[in-house]
Assembly symmetry: C2
Homo-oligomer: 113 residues x 2
């Protein structure tokens, strides 16, 4: 049986893609870089995501150690998702995506004029 | 009718995710950062991708101006995919993914010992 480490692709880009190469995961990470979020807040903010896909994405990121899930014993219980230390270390990738997106948006707006 | 620029998300991260927030597109970009590739080469290298998904991914990236498709009039015709200038400008994102993946792989290997 293969251990989890053996299942990580040898190519480091592929290893990263395996964990976060997905539209919704990237947008969840973008949000959690600001602060912890609750499930319903995330679902409201990520237009078009279904409850199932958000649940699956969060579980997968929790299993991969990218996010933490904390249940606060209130009535009703409050559940918050936050980045782990590993998840927070993804910030340079999101920063590069933000910089590229800003430049891309500007170029498209210039093209309109 | 909305112009294409109006369909670009306001959030720059979301704009980037809309174009390349997809496992296979990211791996194709990784490869094209090295040199131009032919369709069959890409399909062979990207283990598990179907012909349809690779075709759709390449067409979508060509429509978005990220890659170019060049047909060389040989017998049989040779078709090569390469990054456009816009596509090549994605390099910092892939560099950040490579750096993160290297660090992640190391930490998992340490964990095994």
């Amino acid at each position: 049986m293969k251990t989890k480490a053996e299942l990580i692709p040898e190519c480091p880009v592929a290893a990263t893609v395996q964990l976060i190469g997905n539209k919704w995961k990237l947008l969840v990470i973008r949000n959690l870089l600001q602060r912890p979020w609750r499930f319903n807040e995330l679902q409201k903010d990520l237009k078009g995501i279904s409850q199932k896909v958000l649940t699956d994405s969060l579980r997968s990121m929790e299993a991969d150690g990218i996010i933490t899930r904390t249940v606060y014993p209130e009535v009703p219980p409050r559940v918050e998702y936050a980045l782990s230390e590993l998840g927070a270390s993804l910030k340079p990738i999101l920063d590069a995506m933000r910089a590229w997106g800003e430049s891309y948006r500007s170029s498209k707006q210039d093209g309109e004029n």
